[in-house]
Symmetry: C2
Subunit: 142 residues, 2 copies
Protein backbone atom coordinates (compact mmCIF):
# COMPACT_ATOMS: atom_id res chain seq x y z
CA UNK A 1 0.00 0.00 0.00
CA UNK A 2 2.94 2.28 0.49
CA UNK A 3 3.78 1.74 -3.14
CA UNK A 4 2.32 3.86 -5.83
CA UNK A 5 1.19 2.58 -9.17
CA UNK A 6 2.61 4.63 -12.03
CA UNK A 7 -0.87 5.96 -12.72
CA UNK A 8 -0.99 7.30 -9.20
CA UNK A 9 2.39 8.94 -9.58
CA UNK A 10 1.19 10.53 -12.80
CA UNK A 11 -1.91 11.78 -11.08
CA UNK A 12 -0.17 13.09 -7.99
CA UNK A 13 2.84 14.61 -9.66
CA UNK A 14 1.37 15.75 -12.93
CA UNK A 15 4.34 14.22 -14.70
CA UNK A 16 3.29 12.10 -17.72
CA UNK A 17 3.98 8.38 -17.66
CA UNK A 18 6.24 8.70 -20.70
CA UNK A 19 8.36 11.15 -18.78
CA UNK A 20 8.49 8.89 -15.74
CA UNK A 21 9.75 6.05 -17.91
CA UNK A 22 12.21 8.42 -19.52
CA UNK A 23 13.46 9.58 -16.14
CA UNK A 24 13.79 6.02 -14.95
CA UNK A 25 15.82 5.14 -18.03
CA UNK A 26 18.02 8.12 -17.28
CA UNK A 27 18.47 6.96 -13.71
CA UNK A 28 16.73 9.95 -12.21
CA UNK A 29 14.10 7.89 -10.50
CA UNK A 30 13.68 4.19 -9.97
CA UNK A 31 10.73 1.91 -9.55
CA UNK A 32 10.70 -0.55 -6.69
CA UNK A 33 8.95 -3.33 -8.54
CA UNK A 34 6.07 -4.28 -10.73
CA UNK A 35 2.48 -5.27 -10.47
CA UNK A 36 2.26 -7.38 -13.56
CA UNK A 37 3.90 -5.12 -16.07
CA UNK A 38 3.12 -1.94 -14.24
CA UNK A 39 5.78 -0.08 -12.40
CA UNK A 40 5.41 0.48 -8.71
CA UNK A 41 7.12 3.44 -7.13
CA UNK A 42 7.99 4.25 -3.58
CA UNK A 43 6.12 7.30 -2.33
CA UNK A 44 9.50 9.03 -2.12
CA UNK A 45 9.48 9.32 -5.87
CA UNK A 46 7.19 12.31 -5.50
CA UNK A 47 9.82 14.18 -3.55
CA UNK A 48 12.39 13.20 -6.10
CA UNK A 49 10.23 14.46 -8.91
CA UNK A 50 9.80 17.72 -7.05
CA UNK A 51 13.54 17.95 -6.73
CA UNK A 52 13.92 17.34 -10.43
CA UNK A 53 11.35 20.01 -11.21
CA UNK A 54 13.17 22.36 -8.90
CA UNK A 55 16.49 21.68 -10.51
CA UNK A 56 15.07 22.17 -13.97
CA UNK A 57 13.45 25.43 -12.93
CA UNK A 58 16.78 26.57 -11.54
CA UNK A 59 18.40 25.89 -14.87
CA UNK A 60 20.04 22.54 -14.17
CA UNK A 61 20.07 20.05 -17.01
CA UNK A 62 18.75 16.59 -16.31
CA UNK A 63 22.30 15.33 -16.25
CA UNK A 64 23.22 17.91 -13.68
CA UNK A 65 20.19 16.98 -11.61
CA UNK A 66 21.24 13.34 -11.85
CA UNK A 67 24.55 14.17 -10.23
CA UNK A 68 22.67 15.38 -7.20
CA UNK A 69 21.52 11.84 -6.51
CA UNK A 70 23.92 9.40 -4.94
CA UNK A 71 24.11 6.07 -6.77
CA UNK A 72 21.27 4.40 -4.97
CA UNK A 73 20.33 6.77 -2.29
CA UNK A 74 18.83 9.96 -1.18
CA UNK A 75 19.80 13.27 -2.62
CA UNK A 76 23.14 14.65 -1.55
CA UNK A 77 23.12 18.25 -2.47
CA UNK A 78 26.33 20.14 -2.72
CA UNK A 79 25.92 23.51 -1.06
CA UNK A 80 28.62 24.97 -3.22
CA UNK A 81 26.75 23.86 -6.27
CA UNK A 82 23.64 25.60 -5.02
CA UNK A 83 25.56 28.77 -4.29
CA UNK A 84 27.14 28.65 -7.74
CA UNK A 85 23.80 28.20 -9.37
CA UNK A 86 22.44 31.11 -7.36
CA UNK A 87 25.27 33.28 -8.63
CA UNK A 88 24.60 32.12 -12.15
CA UNK A 89 20.96 33.05 -11.69
CA UNK A 90 22.04 36.44 -10.44
CA UNK A 91 23.83 37.10 -13.68
CA UNK A 92 20.93 35.88 -15.71
CA UNK A 93 18.60 38.10 -13.73
CA UNK A 94 20.81 41.12 -14.26
CA UNK A 95 20.83 40.55 -18.00
CA UNK A 96 17.11 40.07 -18.12
CA UNK A 97 16.46 43.19 -16.11
CA UNK A 98 18.60 45.17 -18.55
CA UNK A 99 16.73 43.61 -21.43
CA UNK A 100 13.38 44.31 -19.90
CA UNK A 101 14.21 47.93 -19.24
CA UNK A 102 15.50 48.32 -22.76
CA UNK A 103 12.42 46.75 -24.26
CA UNK A 104 10.18 48.81 -22.08
CA UNK A 105 11.93 51.94 -23.18
CA UNK A 106 11.85 50.99 -26.82
CA UNK A 107 8.15 50.31 -26.56
CA UNK A 108 7.54 53.78 -25.21
CA UNK A 109 10.23 55.56 -27.17
CA UNK A 110 8.99 58.52 -29.21
CA UNK A 111 11.64 58.20 -31.92
CA UNK A 112 10.09 57.59 -35.33
CA UNK A 113 12.11 54.45 -35.83
CA UNK A 114 13.70 52.32 -33.16
CA UNK A 115 16.89 52.62 -35.08
CA UNK A 116 16.95 56.30 -34.24
CA UNK A 117 16.39 55.75 -30.55
CA UNK A 118 19.63 56.04 -28.61
CA UNK A 119 18.50 53.69 -25.89
CA UNK A 120 17.51 51.06 -28.40
CA UNK A 121 20.79 51.44 -30.22
CA UNK A 122 22.65 51.07 -26.96
CA UNK A 123 20.76 47.87 -26.28
CA UNK A 124 21.57 46.71 -29.76
CA UNK A 125 25.22 47.43 -29.24
CA UNK A 126 25.19 45.51 -25.99
CA UNK A 127 23.51 42.54 -27.60
CA UNK A 128 25.93 42.60 -30.51
CA UNK A 129 28.95 42.79 -28.26
CA UNK A 130 27.76 39.83 -26.30
CA UNK A 131 27.26 41.78 -23.11
CA UNK A 132 23.69 40.58 -23.02
CA UNK A 133 23.64 37.21 -24.59
CA UNK A 134 26.38 35.01 -25.98
CA UNK A 135 27.13 33.07 -22.85
CA UNK A 136 25.55 29.80 -23.82
CA UNK A 137 22.05 28.47 -23.73
CA UNK A 138 19.79 27.73 -20.89
CA UNK A 139 16.36 26.27 -20.93
CA UNK A 140 14.07 27.75 -18.37
CA UNK A 141 10.54 26.93 -17.51
CA UNK A 142 8.39 29.68 -18.95
Amino acid sequence: MQYLDIAEVVQRSGVPASTLRFYEEKGLISSVGRHGLRRLFDAGVLERLALIALGRAAGFSLDEVAKVFTPRGRPRIDRQMLADKATELDNTIRRLVAMRDGLRHAAACPAASHMECPTFRRLLGAAASGAIGKRGKKTLAR
Copy 2:
Protein backbone atom coordinates in the same frame (compact mmCIF):
# COMPACT_ATOMS: atom_id res chain seq x y z
CA MET B 1 33.62 48.70 -50.93
CA GLN B 2 30.46 49.23 -48.99
CA TYR B 3 29.82 45.54 -49.33
CA LEU B 4 31.20 43.07 -46.88
CA ASP B 5 32.55 39.68 -47.76
CA ILE B 6 31.07 36.93 -45.61
CA ALA B 7 34.45 36.51 -43.94
CA GLU B 8 34.34 40.13 -42.92
CA VAL B 9 30.86 39.78 -41.52
CA VAL B 10 32.03 36.77 -39.56
CA GLN B 11 34.96 38.72 -38.24
CA ARG B 12 33.02 41.84 -37.34
CA SER B 13 29.96 40.18 -35.91
CA GLY B 14 31.45 37.08 -34.38
CA VAL B 15 28.69 35.07 -35.98
CA PRO B 16 29.99 31.92 -37.73
CA ALA B 17 29.59 31.62 -41.48
CA SER B 18 27.43 28.53 -41.08
CA THR B 19 25.06 30.57 -38.96
CA LEU B 20 24.99 33.38 -41.49
CA ARG B 21 24.04 30.91 -44.21
CA PHE B 22 21.48 29.41 -41.89
CA TYR B 23 20.02 32.83 -41.14
CA GLU B 24 19.92 33.70 -44.83
CA GLU B 25 18.09 30.48 -45.57
CA LYS B 26 15.63 31.38 -42.84
CA GLY B 27 15.15 34.81 -44.35
CA LEU B 28 16.58 36.63 -41.36
CA ILE B 29 19.30 38.28 -43.37
CA SER B 30 20.01 38.52 -47.07
CA SER B 31 23.10 38.86 -49.14
CA VAL B 32 23.24 41.49 -51.84
CA GLY B 33 25.29 39.50 -54.30
CA ARG B 34 28.29 37.35 -54.81
CA HIS B 35 31.92 37.67 -55.53
CA GLY B 36 32.47 34.42 -57.31
CA LEU B 37 30.70 32.04 -55.02
CA ARG B 38 31.16 34.18 -51.97
CA ARG B 39 28.30 36.05 -50.50
CA LEU B 40 28.48 39.79 -50.21
CA PHE B 41 26.50 41.55 -47.56
CA ASP B 42 25.43 45.12 -47.14
CA ALA B 43 27.00 46.70 -44.06
CA GLY B 44 23.48 46.90 -42.65
CA VAL B 45 23.61 43.20 -42.02
CA LEU B 46 25.63 43.93 -38.90
CA GLU B 47 22.80 45.93 -37.42
CA ARG B 48 20.43 43.19 -38.38
CA LEU B 49 22.57 40.59 -36.70
CA ALA B 50 22.67 42.75 -33.60
CA LEU B 51 18.91 42.93 -33.68
CA ILE B 52 18.72 39.17 -33.98
CA ALA B 53 21.09 38.75 -31.05
CA LEU B 54 19.00 41.17 -29.09
CA GLY B 55 15.79 39.36 -29.87
CA ARG B 56 17.31 36.01 -28.97
CA ALA B 57 18.63 37.41 -25.71
CA ALA B 58 15.17 38.72 -24.95
CA GLY B 59 13.74 35.28 -25.44
CA PHE B 60 12.36 35.63 -28.95
CA SER B 61 12.63 32.58 -31.18
CA LEU B 62 14.20 33.05 -34.58
CA ASP B 63 10.75 32.82 -36.10
CA GLU B 64 9.56 35.57 -33.85
CA VAL B 65 12.56 37.68 -34.74
CA ALA B 66 11.80 37.07 -38.40
CA LYS B 67 8.37 38.62 -37.97
CA VAL B 68 10.03 41.82 -36.92
CA PHE B 69 11.43 42.24 -40.41
CA THR B 70 9.18 43.45 -43.18
CA PRO B 71 9.42 41.33 -46.35
CA ARG B 72 12.32 43.14 -47.88
CA GLY B 73 12.86 46.11 -45.71
CA ARG B 74 14.02 47.57 -42.54
CA PRO B 75 12.86 46.32 -39.22
CA ARG B 76 9.35 47.31 -38.26
CA ILE B 77 9.08 46.70 -34.60
CA ASP B 78 5.72 46.44 -32.99
CA ARG B 79 5.78 48.43 -29.77
CA GLN B 80 3.07 46.29 -28.29
CA MET B 81 5.16 43.25 -28.95
CA LEU B 82 8.05 44.84 -27.14
CA ALA B 83 5.87 45.74 -24.20
CA ASP B 84 4.47 42.20 -24.08
CA LYS B 85 7.92 40.75 -24.14
CA ALA B 86 8.97 43.07 -21.35
CA THR B 87 6.06 41.83 -19.26
CA GLU B 88 7.01 38.27 -20.03
CA LEU B 89 10.53 39.02 -18.92
CA ASP B 90 9.15 40.50 -15.72
CA ASN B 91 7.50 37.21 -14.88
CA THR B 92 10.59 35.26 -15.72
CA ILE B 93 12.65 37.56 -13.56
CA ARG B 94 10.27 37.16 -10.64
CA ARG B 95 10.53 33.40 -10.83
CA LEU B 96 14.28 33.48 -11.11
CA VAL B 97 14.58 35.79 -8.14
CA ALA B 98 12.50 33.40 -6.06
CA MET B 99 14.67 30.53 -7.23
CA ARG B 100 17.86 32.35 -6.51
CA ASP B 101 16.76 33.27 -3.01
CA GLY B 102 15.71 29.71 -2.37
CA LEU B 103 18.97 28.32 -3.63
CA ARG B 104 20.94 30.84 -1.65
CA HIS B 105 19.10 29.89 1.47
CA ALA B 106 19.50 26.21 0.85
CA ALA B 107 23.21 26.69 0.34
CA ALA B 108 23.52 28.40 3.70
CA CYS B 109 20.90 26.39 5.53
CA PRO B 110 22.13 24.78 8.72
CA ALA B 111 19.75 21.80 8.55
CA ALA B 112 21.62 18.49 8.35
CA SER B 113 19.84 17.51 5.18
CA HIS B 114 18.16 19.84 2.74
CA MET B 115 15.13 17.69 3.07
CA GLU B 116 14.78 18.88 6.64
CA CYS B 117 15.07 22.52 5.77
CA PRO B 118 11.67 24.20 5.71
CA THR B 119 12.73 26.79 3.16
CA PHE B 120 14.06 24.13 0.86
CA ARG B 121 10.91 22.10 1.23
CA ARG B 122 8.82 25.12 0.46
CA LEU B 123 10.84 25.67 -2.70
CA LEU B 124 10.40 22.03 -3.53
CA GLY B 125 6.67 22.28 -3.06
CA ALA B 126 6.54 25.32 -5.28
CA ALA B 127 8.52 23.57 -7.99
CA ALA B 128 6.33 20.50 -7.73
CA SER B 129 3.13 22.49 -7.94
CA GLY B 130 4.37 24.29 -10.99
CA ALA B 131 4.38 27.68 -9.30
CA ILE B 132 7.99 28.09 -10.33
CA GLY B 133 8.38 26.29 -13.58
CA LYS B 134 5.88 24.43 -15.74
CA ARG B 135 4.85 27.27 -17.96
CA GLY B 136 6.67 26.26 -21.08
CA LYS B 137 10.22 26.46 -22.24
CA LYS B 138 12.35 29.37 -23.13
CA THR B 139 15.86 29.41 -24.39
CA LEU B 140 17.92 32.21 -23.01
CA ALA B 141 21.43 33.22 -23.75
CA ARG B 142 23.50 32.26 -20.77
